[in-house]
Amino acid sequence: MRLDARRGGESGRVGVLDAGIVLIRLDRRHAAHDDVCRLFAESADGRVALQISVVNVAEVLQHAHRYSEATGLDAIALLHAFSIGVHRPDLEVARRAAALATWPDLSMADRFAAATAATVRGRLYTTDQTLAKTLRQSRQPVTSL
C-alpha cells in the first residue's frame, strides 16, 4: 500500500511504526504510553499519516497473542481504529531491506521497519534502542520511545 502523504494534514507528517510502539499502546505501565496514545490520536485525527510494515505487524500479533485471547482485542482492528495503514512490502522495500544487511547488528524485522520508513520517507517510531542508534548514525529520522 502506498502512503498518501496528504493524509498527514497540512504538516504532511508521515510516520512508520515499529512493532514495540503498537505493543506500548496496549500497556499503560510503560513510561511512553501517554506519548504513544497521543501519536495514535493524531493518526486518527489525520494530523499524521502512520503506517506499519506487515512484517512488523507479524511481530505485534506474535507478542500480543495471549493478550488478544484474553481481551478479545485484535491488533489489526486496533490499527484500523486509529487509521494506521499496513504497508505491504514491494520489491523496492525488499531491495532496501537486503541492502541494509551491511549495517551491523540488525535483524530482518529491524531492516523491514527501516526500509519501510526510507521508502515512504517517513519518521520511524521505535522502542528499539539498537535500531534507533543505527538510524541516527545514518541520519534517517527516528524517534525512540
Binding site: D27, Y67, A70, A77, S107, T127, T130
Partner: protein, 43 residues
C-alpha cells in the same frame, strides 16, 4: 471506537494482573534474532 477503548481498558487490567510484558518479549526476541544473525555472519 468505544468497543476498542473498552477492550484496551480490559487489557490494561489483564496485563497489570498477569505480569505479561509484550514489549520486553519483543525486545528479547529481537536480541535473539541479532545473536543468530551475528553467528550466521561469523566466518
Amino acid at each position: 471506537m468505544a468497543d476498542i477503548d473498552a477492550r484496551l481498558e480490559r487489557g490494561y487490567s489483564w496485563l497489570e494482573q498477569g505480569g505479561d510484558d509484550p514489549v520486553e518479549a519483543l525486545h528479547e526476541a529481537r536480541r535473539q534474532a541479532r545473536r543468530r544473525e551475528r553467528a550466521r555472519r561469523r566466518p
